[in-house]
């Protein structure tokens, strides 16, 4: 962990957050936008921590949705998080209606028909379900019913569908349900995109890490004026593709891991009064995130000081690399 210096004249370190359109986000959003524009159906999968939910928020935010007080509302992309724990169709219905705002409670047999009307009047063009690996036969079946009703008279409204799932070991969830031989799943599968019904969006390569790091340099420029992360790109990439973190040995880096690594390193540098990270700081960060990740923390004594069980850091620092 880290130790704050109470004598430091600097204000406390501030973690900054900003949406970075990473190469992963570009790949991933391209599929979601395709589903929206072409009204196509896809299961889009990526490993946990890739930035799937952030990407959905970004897409919805930029979709131009509004509620006008003349009674006209435009919600082209209706995004929800899948209900959990063996959800029923009505749980999904409630999640969909909640994304529209406040909807008074109504019986399920009424809500399921109201949803069709509401989605037509809100001009919904694409439904995105985050954490779609939590969907089941009942909720998937309701999605089919809902979109079928929208496609029929009087609405005649085709709607894209993006089922965003987390996966591991290249096993994409939902395939085993959708590819069943029953008639309903044959119909469901028939509605899916003909070329790319199941997509896996990969994490970041080493070259892409080089591309992303300047965004963090800019983000933390006010706190670490000399911050130059790019020169450590190779080291960071190697650490974050360590099999302890990269469980599938994909040799790809997730944005979550990269953000945590960089944030931890720049905070450590800031608390030591530095204006840039150095090899020693990166090494300590890597040790904490990888080698000591599952070590128990003993919290005792001075509340500002934590210590961990483990060997003292005495290895050599990583070599600085000429990158970027």
């Amino acid at each position: 962990m880290y130790t704050t210096n109470p004598e430091s004249p600097r204000p406390p370190f501030e973690i900054l957050r900003a949406y970075i359109e990473t190469p992963f986000e570009k790949r991933y959003l391209a599929y979601l936008r395709y589903a929206w524009q072409e009204r196509s159906w896809h299961v889009i999968s990526a490993v946990p921590g890739s930035g799937k939910s952030l990407g959905i928020d970004e897409l919805v935010w930029k979709s131009g949705a509004y509620k006008d007080k003349t009674g006209i509302t435009y919600l082209p992309v209706l995004a929800i998080r899948s209900p959990k724990n063996n959800a029923r169709a009505q749980d999904l219905g409630i999640a969909l209606s909640s994304a529209m705002g406040v909807v008074p409670t109504m019986p399920w047999n009424r809500l399921r028909f109201w949803l069709v009307q509401a989605m037509a009047s809100l001009q919904v063009e694409c439904i995105i379900v985050d954490d779609a690996h939590d969907l089941n036969r009942l909720t998937l079946g309701f999605l089919k019913e809902l979109t079928d009703n929208l496609a029929a008279l009087p609405y005649r409204r085709l709607v894209g569908l993006g089922l965003v799932t987390a996966h591991s070991n290249d096993l994409v969830p939902l395939i085993e349900i959708i590819k069943q031989p029953d008639e309903i799943w044959r119909q469901f599968y028939r509605r899916m995109d003909k070329e790319h019904p199941f997509c896996v969006v990969d994490g970041h390569t080493q070259a892409e890490i080089v591309e992303i790091l300047p965004n963090f340099e800019e983000l933390y420029r006010s706190q670490l004026p000399d911050l130059r992360l790019r020169r450590w790109a190779n080291y960071i990439y190697e650490q974050l593709t360590n099999p302890i973190i990269d469980l599938d040995s994909s040799r790809r880096v997730t944005m979550d891991n990269l953000t945590k690594f960089v944030t931890s390193a720049v905070r450590r540098a800031y608390d030591r009064g530095e204006t840039d990270v150095n090899g020693q700081i990166l090494k300590e960060t890597a040790e904490l995130m990888i080698q000591h990740r599952d070590d128990l923390f003993h919290i005792d004594g001075d509340s500002t000081t934590f210590h961990i069980d483990g060997d003292p850091i005495n290895d050599e620092s990583p070599p600085e690399q000429a990158v970027g």
Binding site: A65, K67, V102, P104, M106, L122
Partner: protein, 272 residues
């Protein structure tokens, strides 16, 4: 703010289709338009509002001339518009000022209200005017046609009926906009213009002092006319002049005062 964007926290706390009050719209009409905009049955919005304040059995005990103030707080959030804009769909602020109380009561405005509407206002703008809550108004001042209460099927219309779509007859489904129109008689138009003028004086300038002046004026006119014995009121009933006592002036409703002012053929100039 005319629009709510999806990154605004108000997105989650507003109805899917929020509506805003039209000029001089009555709260009940706003609630019906909200039902209609959101594809809900008649009375869905008002039921939700009362449910949210813990009053599920609101039917029969609430009129929409002076509804409970707590519903305005909730409705303000659900429509993302200021509470003051919602209060303006009633005569509550005006009546509070006139009577010098914080929360006025319906009987201080109109103790004998029943719902009627102008089919033309509904047809043109889905509009229920705030003036529908005023006593002695039997015609639409804008369209000069008679206000209607009963459908051709014989059903008295109610504001909210969960069996019906908004702005329709709960019995036969006929749209209020399609109800037949009857032109108002000229003498009624003239009379109601006088009535509205007095209401306007009260609503724009009314204070307890003005109210006292009006009561004093009426009392004086009654004494002058005492020899006539009885005075004919707007409803056609008569009142014995000696029965009017200014000592009980706090109990007079605006409806009663306007009735007497017009019946006595008094104009605002008589107040000076």
């Amino acid at each position: 703010m005319q629009r709510v964007s999806i990154d605004d926290p108000a997105w989650r706390t507003t109805f899917p289709h929020p509506v805003k009050p039209l000029e001089d719209e009555w709260l009940a009409g706003l609630l019906l338009r909200c039902d209609e905009a959101n594809d809900w049955g008649s009375g869905f919005t008002i039921s939700y509002l009362f449910h949210s304040i813990g009053r599920d059995n609101w039917k029969g005990e609430v009129n929409f001339i002076m509804p409970p103030t707590s519903i305005f707080e909730k409705l303000s959030q659900l429509l993302a518009i200021p509470k003051s804009a919602l209060l303006a769909t009633t005569y509550q602020p005006e009546l509070a000022r006139i009577c010098g109380v914080s929360i006025p009561h319906t009987i201080q405005l109109n103790p004998s209200f029943w719902f009627r509407f102008c089919p033309e206002c509904v047809s043109q703008d889905r509009m229920l005017q705030r003036t529908l809550t005023l006593a002695h108004m039997n015609n639409c001042p804008k369209h000069q046609i008679a206000l209607v209460r009963t459908c051709q099927c014989g059903m008295h219309q109610t504001l909210f009926s969960r069996k019906a779509q908004p702005f329709t007859c709960p019995a036969c489904g006929m749209r209020w906009a399609q109800f037949p129109r009857s032109p108002a008689l000229q003498k009624h138009i003239v009379m109601e213009q006088k009535i509205l003028l007095w209401y306007k004086i009260f609503f724009t300038q009314g204070t307890p002092t003005l109210l006292a002046s009006v009561v004093t004026l009426i009392g004086r006119k009654f004494r002058e006319r005492n020899k006539l014995g009885r005075i004919s009121r707007l409803s056609g009933k008569t009142i014995k002049a000696e029965f009017f006592s200014p000592y009980y002036r706090t109990n007079f409703s605006l409806a009663y005062l306007v009735d007497l002012l017009v019946s006595l053929d008094l104009s605002p100039n008589d107040l000076i």
